[in-house]
Amino acid sequence: MKFTLSWLKDHLDTDASLDVIVETLTRIGLEVERVEDKAAALAAYRIAAVLTAEQHPNADRLRVCTVDTGEGAPVQVVCGAPNARAGMTTVFAPPGTYVPGKNITLSVGVIRGVESRGMLCSGSELGLSDDHDGILDLSTDAPVGQPYAAFAGLDDPVIEINLTPNRPDCTGIHGIARDLAAAGIGTLKREQLTPVRGEGACPVAVTRDFAPEDAHLCPLFSLRLVRGVRNGPSPEWMRRRLTAIGLRPINALVDITNYVTFDRGRPLHVFDAAKVKGNLTVRRARDGEEVLALDGRTYRLDDGAIVIADETGVESIAGIMGGEHSGCDEGTTDVLIESALWDPLTIARTGRRLGIVTDARYRFERGVDPAFALPGLDLATKLVLDLCGGTPSQATVSGEVPDTERIIDFPWTEVRRLSGLDLPRPEMKVTLESLGFHVAGSGDRAKVLSPSWRPDIEGKADLVEEIVRIAGLDRIEPKPLPRIEATVIRPVLTVMQKRTRQAKREFAARGLVEAVTWSFIAQADATLFGGGKPELALANPIAADLSDMRPSLVPGLARAAQRNADRGYGDVALFEVGQCFASDQPEGQTTKATALRRGSARHGGAGRHWDGAARPVDAFEAKADALALLTALGVPTGGLQVVAGGPDWLHPGRSGTLQFGPRNPIGFFGELHPRVLKALDIKGPVVVCEITLDALPLPKHRPTKMKPAANLPDFQPLTRDFAFVVARSVAAGDILKAAQGAERNLVTGIEVFDVYEGAGIGEDQKSVAVAVRLQPTDRTLTDAEIEAVSQKIVAEVTRKTGATLRG
């Protein structure tokens, strides 16, 4: 919403400076977005007379002028404008002046050997026009020495406010003035609008043709004919104001509607009566009906729109834009002025659907003052009579002004209760009254009647806002919010919140870099990773590759890794801990922690190094990430099973599933499937692990934080090595489990220190060498006892896995 200071002062009697007005507007909730004060910007530019203009001695295209600037002796200026001549009146800028059109600051110069003390200016140099033809050529009676801006009528600052959608009353300058007056910046001018006395009935009848349930679409439609008008340019003061706020003056009749729109927030429409055939009908548009609108474009309507039609068809899209056919031009002699009320929701929807943004739509979709519909018609009629002459008819009024009266039972204590601000009751009452509310009652409670122009006022809280915003939110002193209980803060994070945080820190500590990737991915990617369900597809994705809610973090990270590789960073280790979606229900959303390594980005380092190059990443690197995560999260891994194979998107032979029993998988690790790499256009190797944090067992609640006593035996442990030859299909884990189980009380650790396949070992066989650590607890073992334990271990491994001891 834009307006000028002088226009505001039509409605507000005030001595306040522009700065105070601007500051107050923002303070009371009418946030000032921009102030354009040309008078201040162009203060240095003065009207000047060119006394002489001689040919420059050293340049064909330059002239050396002497200029009367209105003060002191004439000044010498070198000027390149073709129209510079002695005797002309133009605009002069002295050295030190900033030139907006050229973005320079003038200084005393010497141009081709001649001194120049300032500049004679064109409109473009002042940033006022695109006119490069020459310097401004003013009428000779322009007052030399006076500021040009004032002379040119540019001294009316333009204020633009960012209006919140709840304030339709401030789509008119009168409403803004009312708010300022309530805030103590002057007095609201309340001129009484006298109804226009029309002669004779309006010859055009109006029918509102709606089904009963559609009555709200147009509660009121009023129309008046003015005969014998002379339409031409509107007067200069009106054109200047309209131009200042960015509107293009058209002709008096059209300008009047725009003027009232901004002056009072009351949009109107004018029809050239000669072009309207028969009576007018207000109705829903028919599907497919078309209208050529005033913007020169043809719109195809549906029955969601409301139109005003005559016998030949649609003449106007109600509340949004008039039709070209019956628009007013210089030839108009009889004009029909329309002032109506429209359903805000319908106007908003139609405007959006048609993509039309107009000042009328802006107001109707917020809700205009219903009580001003008829006074608005009178105001417009009066302006038409004043500016264009003519004879008005009586108004024809179809429908009636709806009753929007709301009475709120308001305890004055409500202000303190909600805001903490203790205001004197009279101040609160005066605020409400100056905003147009009627306040009755003298006790602790008042009956407050809201004005017709404030559809946003529903209840007590709204009144509190009115009082507090005018008083100023800055008057509310911050006050500490006491703790609910006067205690040291107790932990507030849930298990999942803690796990999410720990997972991120753990992965980062393992050299992985945290990425945050889109929650939506391409449908093909989602499908590849087990997603792509219709219920998780966006109806209106912002881009084709951001269409489906992600089932896994792997595709986003994998694509990110490849983007980095394409930039020359191939050894990347990325992780993300974030939401994944299995259904559109809240339970379908889980948090996964995913680590991805590409190239040689191993835990120990990447790439070549004098101390040994890093090998390409493999599934065990991913397994290490997964197990480290579980350890960091305090998940007891005693019952954890590592099972060969994983989801389809992992390499079937180089992947594993982590689970607590077959029904409780918690995640996967492994190499990405070669087919997936190909589909994603990614070069491997890429290994990943993905743990579903929601699937992890909850920690057991323990009554104390005590740890069990430490077991520190006094006897030396000893280690025995065994090399078992087994079928290749035997899992090392089974060998370890068997060895461990052979002598539970003595075996405290087993390491696999070698795995070998090849020469010396049978085909389809492998050798797995393990070091078993025995820890005696009550005495040193004898050689015979050690031998017995060793045999027991060998026997048990052989029994469970078919192993033979390698010779």
């Binding site: 923002t26 303070r27 909730g29 919140t164 304030r167 805000p344 929701l345 908003a348 929807r349 209760r417 909600l418 805001s419 903490g420 007590k460 809280a461 509190v464 806002e465 507090v468 915003r469 939110l473 509310i476 002193e477 911050p478 006050k479 919010l481 803060i489 507030v492 820190r505 992965f507 980062a508 500590a509 393992r510 050299g511 870099v513 945290e514 990425a515 945050v516 990737t517 889109w518 939506f520 219709p534 219920e535 998780l536 597809a537 109806a539 209106n540 912002i542 881009a543 809610m549 990270l557 980095n564 990347v572 280790a573 939401q579 559109d584 809240p586 835990h603 380092g605 004098w610 101390d611």
Partner: protein, 360 residues
């Protein structure tokens, strides 16, 4: 006893002439070994008369001790020389680079770090963290929050919708974390103090907007919470978050469907050479929206607006991260460019806390 004297002279000369441990050992065996010269002399003592033994004993034993001492001393000298020689040979190039450890390479995303900072501050003020799903219903995202039917935010050009289900109902991606407030108010009895951080989505993509971003909202519901408390909380938060001793904030009346009265909050700052500083200067920067929870919202959550009351606020996590840490552009937050992440990310052990300061 010139024999003994010359033997000693001879042995001591051999000791000092031994060039290495092996020859020294040869000297020792020749002198003090079982059949060594000195050992042989010692054996003779047994056959001597007590008088002669009394005379010879100290002489021979003295010889033995001196030779033994000379060998020991020579051994130490040789060992010292050997060590010196070994150390002279053992040299590494200390300028060779070492690999950086994983905890040096890893990074925490600025959004995570800022969320942790926010949690540290509000956790200390007694707030807990409430979370909810990203896929929401129209009711929780709009209707319960007092968005009127036909509000522009409910349109396809502002909000992401999922495809309608069999009943024609369509879910949406939450446009703010306010649905979590509704869930909390419907499930928890006041007093309530929560913050709701999380991912949010709007159908917007340009220089300063991404279709996905992060928000943190706060909610306080009890029997007396009012705007004066709201102002205190937000001022304390801003001071703590931006790590300055004072901030000046400006509360401008504004409008949101879900609060009444509503305000937008600007924070005072200075901008010098592309750097924003808070607690000084005369520029205003909008950082959040807030207000008293609208009576209709309280009613929609089963609360009586005449007996309970409270306030809420919301701000962009990505945005305050940019303000604090100076990222000029929002879009790289979600591009996973490791160069950007290494530069703007945080080290894994830089865990924000109030006692130690949010940042190092």
């Amino acid at each position: 006893m010139t024999d003994l004297t010359s033997l000693e002279t001879d042995l001591l000369a051999q000791v000092s002439g031994a060039a290495d441990e092996a020859s020294l050992e040869g000297v020792r065996v020749a002198a003090l070994g079982k059949k060594g010269a000195v050992s042989e002399l010692l054996k003779t003592l047994g056959g001597l008369s007590p008088e002669a033994r009394k005379e010879q004993g100290p002489l021979i034993n003295g010889l033995r001790d001196r030779v033994q001492g000379a060998i020991q001393s020579r051994r130490e000298t040789l060992a010292e020389a050997a060590l010196t020689a070994r150390l002279a040979a053992e040299r590494i190039d200390v300028t060779l680079p070492v690999r950086e450890g994983p905890e040096t390479r890893g990074r925490i995303h600025p959004i995570t770090q800022v969320m942790d900072e926010i949690t540290a501050i509000f956790g200390d003020m007694g707030f807990s963290i409430a979370e909810g799903p990203d896929v929401e219903t129209d009711d929780l995202n709009f209707t319960a929050l007092n968005f009127p039917e036909g509000h522009p935010a409910r349109e396809m050009h502002d909000t992401f919708f999922l495809r309608p289900d069999r009943d024609g109902k369509r879910k949406l991606l939450r446009t703010h974390t306010s649905p979590v407030q509704v869930r909390t108010m419907r499930n928890v009895q006041p007093p309530i103090r929560v913050i709701c951080p999380g991912r949010t989505y709007r159908h917007d993509s340009d220089q300063t907007h991404t279709p996905m971003f992060h928000q943190v909202e706060g909610l306080v519901i009890d029997r007396q919470a009012n705007i004066s408390h709201l102002k205190w909380i937000l001022e304390e938060f801003c001071k703590a978050f931006f790590e300055v001793d004072s901030v000046k904030m400006r509360f401008r009346p504004s409008f949101f469907p879900f609060t009444e009265p509503s305000a937008e909050v600007d924070i005072q700052c200075s901008r010098k050479g592309g750097e924003i500083r808070f607690g000084e200067g005369d520029d205003w920067l909008e950082i959040l929206g807030c207000g008293m929870v609208h009576p209709n919202v309280l009613r929609n959550c089963g609360l009586d607006p005449d007996t309970v009351q409270g306030f809420a606020w919301g701000m962009g996590i990505d945005r305050i991260a940019m303000l604090k840490y100076g990222m000029p552009d929002l879009r790289p937050f979600f591009e996973a460019d490791v160069r950007w992440l290494e530069h703007y990310g945080f080290r894994p052990l830089d865990i924000p806390s109030l006692v130690g300061g949010l940042t190092a």
